[in-house]
Symmetry: C2
Subunit: 783 residues, 2 copies
């Protein structure tokens, strides 16, 4: 390869790299003397040294080289860094490009500004040590590892002119999520989508160990990348001059390959899955840092991971740090006022071409609202409550089909699911868009295409990661999943919710579309699967996150589901969790009633209630609990016709919390109006029962709230037996009411006996017939 | 390759396969007429058809071939099936081998028994549709996908004579956990550990889509497997006779390769990582099932996934099913009494060589207790409460070091962690055992060896999966993890907890060692990392599971941690969750007091309390909350010296629940003795505060319990600022007490003012100095 970089350019790029490295080290260590215009002294050093050096010089090296590529070829490029510990490097580069000062004017491009830049890093009320929402140009928190490549692909979908450079750390590469993310190339269409350039950074070490990919043979690593469908290009070395030249040449080459792939697909109709290029960059961990500290090797080892030199009571350490920082020759990089020298500044892209200012990395800047059809048009028509059965998610599917249809042109909506779109009965969507599939297609296949907008892969991690990347770059999406297995991405949800929470206090982060989950194939209807598929705990998990970013909905029927889904697709900056079943269930509310009900979040169902002060409140949240509650009401009217019953249904779970805890929380007066202040409340809940207690413990009538829900009992059995096993069935709910209404005290024994006799009959019947009792199978409401 | 199977043997093996397939189909469909000695009628068919056919014939084929290999070579082998939907196949094979009848005598080897076998499957109060704890020979629930290969490696560790045949489904292979599990071969030592034989079953389809690995080129698949460090052997076809012969020859060959690898390592000291063989088996989904139903292809497509023929109101379907079942020629397979014919029975291994009866798959049969050192010997010596600081996990590390030392010979204990053993300060263990590492070792490395027993890889999935496999085969382990990132395996924990819950009702499943988690580097001390590393919600997640399998401990100091850890390592059939910090913290209890305290689970700390009825109970759970509570007590003694304070510390979180809800729950009398029935309780909790409410809402004094905990506020900041941000700091706790003690009503305003002034000073100080106020940094208890 002939040299891509002239000697002059190479020298300047090296200087730019040194500037970024200098600023990175400064952030970790210094609270004063930012330009080292004095001899370094102990009180220039921060009292608490927090941060990560090891990965930073590699990230900085790539940054300056990507900058060259951007300016040379006028590229639209963003930079995702899996090894997000490299926070100081990304901050340093945003500062060098000027974006940092634009976002945070106090951090001027001057000696003072540099000092503030250094001080604020890992400083109380300053900025976090990782790449974070506060970092301009980032859509990827560098805390939990494993999601960089999935985010990169999500960002590239439907952004044909975008190139997403994605650094994958070799530590991160050991995670499950990352290991399967390489396969995302089977779901990216070069004609329609942008490009992802994965750069596997083999710096060789994690916190305390070498990395697996750095210690397999080069042939194995080549095989692995080819097996994943990439063509690897190796950049290796520890001599900056050599690495600069190799890296520049390699970037030119891979850009050429990307362009050739896109040209074939876009201009010559080639729909075959290409072999995308990727780069393996093997450079030392903590490169350019101290070679040795206290006689132990540091550069090129795991010891460079965090703060390579500490304990400054040792005066040698002070000298070592000063030597290290001066090795970057800051006086060549910054002028006396602390500004980057003009000839270096000229290397950086400008305006929105700066990776730190690219609008794709602040997706709200690009967000266009979805063109939503009127959800009323998809409503189930009812002659009255319980007039018919419908499959709620199938109804929703027709609405989503037209959401998809309306967005085909704007190309800003996708549906995500782990091989479950049809199983979850959203398959109407496939009428307007097939499933994305770049791998081989055979005659037997249906609904697969390189142009699909339904994203299916058997990995919840990929669905979540792609969707996050898609949303964070300003688009919309909807993720349907089996309820139990959404726990696979508990941790990813955490990180996204934390990201959103942090963004709320960053004015320049514009609102993005909410992350919408539909959990279906839920705990109560796992006929084919049984106990392993029964877990409603994601609701609890979501409820733990900050109230300003989470919403939880349990629509009781199809029309409520429509209303909730429409609301969620319009919302911004939330995580919306919707739980709804896919099986045929009784329908309760016409669409107007549904909208009213969902708007208030909870309400009395008057058509099922007696007027006036009730003897008991029969409350419910979730579709199956609603059916059982209404059936229990019918039983109660038969057994104890002289009592007054009130039915309260809760759609928006957060209304149960005090208004001080959640913006949706009902004020106490309204809560008391629904649930009374002293009457027994029998609450049938979709999930683990104690969640209702934790949401309502401050309410006046809490002591009378008696909750039934899933208590971890189940197997492969009938639908009704599932509720029986968990004491959520209509007979149990009716008994619960009778036992708690004071004036029915004399009927308790008889009711209890009747209950046990019914359970006995149920058990005998299902054991004999393998199916539910006809009266529960065929039950229907009539007012 | 010359034929391995004689024609006679091939015919018999094919018949055995047909028998397993016949029994599998029978389980899915029939409630009567098991031998088809009558013409099939509608009422022979179950009312609810639940199960999965697609993967089953492939699993059955492998079973009969592995049986041949076992008998031919007298192998010790177990069978792990990732596509666990294949429940009917595994049950069928256990039945054919006789194990099923030994475990469940009612399921006789007769016509009647066969009918019961069929009926019980996916039948209420019968057996689940998946491979499950009820299935003899299984250590792997086939519900949630992705963990088969990690389980297989866990089973193989320290079992040099065992071969774990592990079928990986091509759907499952798309999951993150499975994608990284292939790398487990870098952690398996052929000299000391057994062998894993991965068999990637490319049946081509998931529920609704083709699979990625079935639709990449054969060269890519070969590259991928070589990249993962395996040598792939392909077995492909849809002609049984050909596939039988190829599969038999391939199994002979891979066994030879395994033996050669083991011989080199064991007898010739070769410590280089070998290239292990693996098999790619490409056979049709739903092989031998109906080719077409209603004019649509079924065999070889995703339509074969569950129940290929349904809707038996259509009489053609009845004929189709009968033809399908008769195609296996049941009369050739079973005699008139329903017994498998003798010449076929002779093919199966016997006794403990049967994969369904192998004791490794019922690990409790092999479990030996750990030889534990006396934990008192590792105690921190205290002259009194708060006499010194210690790092709790570092103290624990010395104990674990000797647990490891004592088990070096028995080879039945391993320590697991995602690259964090040293970071979590358990590195004393490395004094007696290095970290397992079969990849390349370089000069700079320390503590790595092919003979290590500390398992580190940057994948929580692998740590969890390996540990589960290790425990389920009768050994012991301990998993330390950063608290926030344990959520990565939330879903795996669910499945293991469900497995344990189910085992409790299966008498032949012998107790296994508990799964022990140590969560450290916890929410309150994430100085280097910040918000992304702050999440105490795993406690909530665990608390949702069945009370007979989960235990949660929050030891307040090092000696309590020792006592708790010793207890956990002795326990069986639980998941024990221990949360303890690694940073230097004040120590409170000498070892005898610690043992007493941990034994009761919660108690009054008399040395910090006033005698008699208190004005306020200052309660705490967790190490940092304990420090803040005791500091608050000291502040209160200063501000309001005339009040009586009681300090209650909770180690065992489950004591808070009513005894009806959890076996560790305190009875109400005892709870009231600790927490009073009417005094304010200021409860400082390690995790999300509402968990304390959900555990105590039934207690008499619940209305007076005021909880402080993590409320999702944090960043990279100082340790004390973290508790301030979440209102868990000593000043806030003291103020909380003053505000709630009725007779201090006149001091409320002054106390509130003082509190805000202190907070102001705190903010100014840390903003200025980047570190905590000296009085909180250097605080110590003195009674």
């Amino acid at each position: 390869m002939s040299d891509v970089l002239s000697n002059d350019l190479l020298q300047k790029m090296d200087a730019y790299w040194r500037a970024a490295n200098y600023l990175s080290v400064g952030q970790i260590y210094l609270q004063d003397n930012p330009l080292l215009d004095q001899k370094l002294q102990l009180d220039h050093i921060k009292p608490r040294l927090l941060g990560h050096w090891g990965t930073t010089p590699g990230l900085n090296l790539l940054y300056v080289h990507l900058n060259r590529l951007i300016t040379e070829h006028d590229l639209d490029m963003i930079y995702i860094t899996g090894p997000g510990h490299g926070g100081p490097g990304l901050v340093a580069n945003a500062y060098l490009e000027g974006t940092y000062t634009e976002r945070y004017p106090a951090i001027e491009r001057s000696r003072n500004g540099m000092q503030r830049l250094f001080r604020q890093f890992s400083w109380p009320h300053g900025v976090p040590s990782h790449v974070s929402p506060e970092t301009p140009g980032s859509i990827h928190e560098g805390g939990e590892l494993g999601y960089s490549l999935a985010h990169a692909y999500g960002a590239a979908f439907d952004n044909p002119n975008l190139i997403v450079a994605c650094v994958v750390g070799d530590g991160e590469a050991e995670t499950g999520a990352l290991a399967t993310s390489w396969h995302s190339n089977k779901f990216l269409n070069p004609a329609r989508d942008g490009a992802v350039l994965p750069i596997l950074h083999l710096n060789g070490f994690k916190i305390a160990n070498p990395t697996v990919l750095a210690r397999i043979t080069p042939q194995e690593l080549t095989d692995l990348m080819r097996g994943y469908g990439y063509e690897p290009h190796f950049v290796e070395g520890d001599d900056p001059a050599v690495v600069h030249q190799t890296l520049a040449a390699t970037l030119e080459r891979v850009l050429g390959e990307i362009r050739a792939i896109q040209d074939k697909a876009r201009n010559h109709g080639d729909t075959e899955r290409p072999r995308w290029p990727m780069i393996v960059m093997r450079t030392p961990k903590g490169w350019t840092g101290p070679k040795q500290v206290d006689g132990k090797p540091v550069e090129g080892t795991w010891r460079a991971h965090q703060v390579p030199i500490a304990d400054f009571k040792n005066p040698e350490h002070l000298t070592l740090l000063e030597d290290w920082m001066r090795s970057y020759r800051p006086d060549e990089l910054f002028d006396a006022t602390g500004k980057l020298r003009d000839e270096l500044q000229a290397l950086a892209p400008t305006g929105r071409r700066r990776m730190s200012a690219n609008p794709h990395a602040n997706g709200g800047e690009l967000l266009e609202p979805l063109s939503l059809p009127d959800f009323h048009d998809y409503a189930v028509t009812l002659t009255g409550p319980g007039a018919l059965k419908a499959e709620a998610t199938r109804v929703l599917g027709t609405f989503l089909r037209d959401v998809m249809k309306n967005s085909l042109e704007s190309e800003n909506f996708r549906l995500f699911g782990p091989d479950e779109t049809a199983s979850n009965r959203l398959d109407a969507v496939l009428q307007v868009s097939p499933k994305e599939w770049m791998a081989a297609i055979e005659d037997v296949d249906v609904d697969l295409s390189p142009d699909g907008r339904v994203m299916e892969v058997l990995s919840e991690h990929l669905c979540q990661g792609w969707l996050e990347g898609y949303l964070l770059t300003g688009r919309h999406g909807f993720f349907s999943c089996y309820e139990a297995f959404i726990h696979i991405i508990d941790s990813m949800f955490n990180q996204h919710a934390k990201w959103l929470k942090a963004c709320a206090t960053i004015p320049w982060r514009k609102p993005i579309a909410s992350l919408n989950y539909l959990l279906t194939s839920h705990v109560w209807r796992q006929d084919h699967n049984g106990f392993s598929h029964q877990d409603p705990g994601f609701i609890d998990h979501v409820a733990n996150k900050k109230s300003n970013v989470v919403r939880i909905y349990l629509p009781p029927d199809a029309n409520c589901l429509l209303s909730v889904a429409d609301h969620c697709l319009r919302s911004r900056n939330y995580v919306n969790l919707i739980v709804a079943g896919k099986q045929p269930e009784w329908q309760w509310l016409d669409i107007d009633a549904a909208v009213r009900h969902c708007t208030t979040g909870a309400g009395i169902w008057h058509w099922a209630s007696d007027e006036g002060e009730p003897d008991v409140v029969m409350a419910c949240a979730g579709d199956v609990p609603t059916v059982e509650t209404l059936a229990a009401v019918k039983l109660l009217r038969e057994y104890v016709p002289d009592i007054k019953i009130r039915v309260v249904n809760v759609v928006d779970l957060m209304v149960l919390q005090p208004s001080s805890e959640h913006p949706h929380g009902l004020d106490d007066r309204r809560f008391d109006e629904l649930f009374t202040t002293d009457k027994p409340v029998i609450f049938a809940f979709h999930g683990y029962p104690w969640l209702i207690h934790r949401l309502t413990y401050r309410r006046r009538n809490h002591v009378n709230i008696h909750v039934r829900g899933y208590k971890e009992e189940g197997t492969t059995t009938t639908p009704f037996d599932m509720v029986v096993l968990n004491d959520l069935d209509r007979y149990r709910l009716a008994l619960d009411a009778i036992l708690r209404i004071p004036r029915l005290a004399d009927q308790r024994d008889a009711a209890t006996s009747r209950y046990w006799a019914t359970m006995q009959r149920h058990k005998l019947y299902i054991g004999e017939h393998g199916d539910d009792l006809p009266e529960v199978r065929d039950w229907r409401w009539s007012a």
